[in-house]
């Protein structure tokens, strides 16, 4: 484990930013949120627990160009516009978001590999930061995530006046050695003490005891047919807030944009909550919001685990709890369906 005084954070950021882009959570005055921004001299790390938008944007941006076409007469030219991503570092990712990358990896890096995602993933170094002040909406522990011991290429803790860093991957080792001049070797006493302290707070989390036992692949049809979906979804507006702030929602749409001198094929986030998500020429198998709402939660709690060794595709970051316009969310769904089971 290595350490650096918090007062020297700026030096660390400067050193990292001298060789590649460094992103970190920064307080945004206009929104009152923390958001990932590029570091430059004068930018300081936010104290907020987490960013309003998740960190998935770094690897799976809201919109991205896939390929260009030039059309002339009857001919089509396909133009591969992909370029090698630049190296970058994301500093201050929380444990929940760090887990979300594993979940996205299982989708995008499964064969056939999504080269757009892989390209960014390979060039990004994730430096996590352990949580010290969880919110009431946090329930990552339910999914077996330890917010005091976040994953990532490098795990980080800010305890007292010091930042502690410990590499988990080769990429992480390389990152630490690139800034080794600023770091000193250290034991992990301070980190351990902080972890013990935060774990006491975690015990008090109101959603820390959500019960996931009914959500297993064997119960797929039973959960699908639950009577509760109707009343749970009754007030749903069919907007995409929950899916767009979610670190693990990965559905996308592919669209063409005619620029007037060519076609740009791009992909953008899509939401299973949208009425046109499954619309096709012959009809729509999910006609009402009940089915769309059900799809989202069944996917996170049953379908995904069924295809991925029981791993849920929710990380308990609490963003959808904080952002849903009608305050309907996965925690309420887990409780309601759990009661029934």
């Amino acid at each position: 484990m290595f350490t650096l005084p918090v007062s020297k954070l700026n030096d660390l950021f400067a050193a990292v930013a001298s060789t590649r882009k460094l992103y970190l959570p920064v307080d945004d005055e206009a929104s009152g949120h923390a958001e990932y921004k590029v570091w430059h001299e004068g930018v300081t790390l936010s104290n907020a627990l987490n960013t309003a938008r998740s960190a998935k944007d770094f690897f799976f941006p809201q919109t991205e160009n896939l390929v260009d076409f030039k059309m002339e007469g009857k001919t089509i030219e396909v133009i591969d516009t992909r370029t090698e991503s630049e190296d970058f570092v994301v500093f201050g990712v929380r444990a929940c978001d760090a887990r979300s990358f594993d979940i996205l990896d299982r989708v995008f890096l499964a064969e056939p590999v999504d080269s757009y995602y892989k390209n960014r993933r390979e060039h990004g170094v994730i430096v996590t930061l352990a949580c010290t002040r969880p919110e009431e909406t946090c329930f990552c522990t339910v999914f077996g995530i330890d917010p005091t011991n976040p994953a990532g290429d490098v795990s980080g803790w800010i305890a007292g006046e010091n930042l502690y860093l410990s590499a988990n991957t080769e990429k992480g080792e390389a990152f630490l050695s690139s800034v080794s001049k600023l770091l000193a070797e250290s034991d992990d006493e301070a980190v351990k003490a902080q972890q013990a302290e935060v774990k006491e707070i975690l015990k008090k989390l109101p959603l820390g005891s959500l019960d996931l036992t009914p959500f297993k692949p064997e119960n797929l049809l039973k959960l699908f047919d639950s009577k509760r979906w109707k009343d749970l979804s009754e007030a749903c507006l069919g907007c995409g807030s929950c899916t767009f702030v979610c670190p693990t929602c990965q559905c996308y749409d592919i669209r063409d944009f005619d620029t007037g001198h060519g076609i740009k094929r791009y992909r953008c986030w899509d939401s299973c909550m949208y009425s046109d998500f499954t619309r096709m020429a012959h009809g729509n198998p999910r006609l009402t919001q009940v089915e769309r709402f059900r799809q989202r939660f069944m996917h996170k709690l049953v379908y995904y685990p069924s295809n991925n060794e029981g791993i849920y595709s929710c990380v308990g970051c609490g963003r959808c709890l904080a952002k849903c316009p009608i305050s309907m969310n996965i925690a309420k769904v887990i409780k309601a369906l759990g009661e029934e089971a």
Binding site: Q62, C239, F244, I326
Partner: protein, 325 residues
Amino acid sequence: MQSEMIKRAKELLASGEVARVVGWKAGEFDYDITPGVFTTAEELDSAFLYNDLCEANLSKYMIAQSRKEGKTLVFLKPCDTYSFSQLLKEHRILRENVYVIGVPCDGKVDVDTVKATGLTGICSMTSDGETVTVKTLYGDSTMSKADAMSERCINCKSKKHVVYDELLGEEGDVVADNHRFDMVEKIEAMTPDERFEFWRNELSRCIRCNACRNVCPACSCEKCVFDNEQSGAFNKGASDSFEENMFHIIRAFHVAGRCTDCGECSRVCPQNIPLHLLNRKFIKDINELYGEYQAGENADERAPLNTFTTEDVEPSIVYERGGKQ
């Protein structure tokens, strides 16, 4: 008030006058209240709620609910009745299938406003009408209700119900002296560069989740132009700053003259974009150029963009009166 409301709802359900009740449902932390549909007395007893935290405007739900079998009882706050009345005017709600009970409101406590004061880990939040008590994972605190209200409630436009079948509590008045255009004026007073900067900073945060559109009682089109692949404006995620601008200009324009300024758009925006400032700009312009107009207030009056006078000002007036140069 809550118990009175439950009592009336039960009576109407029991008499068969209404088949269901639309109100607010308790959540996990006092503040995460969900609009809910209740069909039995038991459901009302266990989950129905009305307090200083019931922010949601229930009027838009009546588009769908009024098309269901039997009558629906809905509780509307004064400002919700403006939206309801506007929807009636646009023939979006079947009035005969709705039983409206007006309930008083003296401003709602907004969790985002409370969070903006720096409180985190809010597990419980209660208001006694004067003081808000907040219990968090990191200790308890209190604040005056005025400090916990969102801007739309501080600048409340009316405490009077414009439509109802029955009123509970005391009827209030239109608030003549509100300051809801102050911020619009402030923006108008900026230079064009500052204004551009201001709005780019705000609109570039948009994630196109459509929450503002879907919650808006004035946005009741069967198919939105932005969802229509044939419209030429179809877009699901803004791929360019132009698309961010266009979405918000058109969203606001399409509700111009019909927006009652209920403020739901800004309340639900996950990115805290002050969308109401776009709508209010239109309202302010309409008031100044075509005479005072409050959407939803009067069922017979024609909406300002559905009418004209031969003496209307020319568009070139914008060159003279527009914002600061």
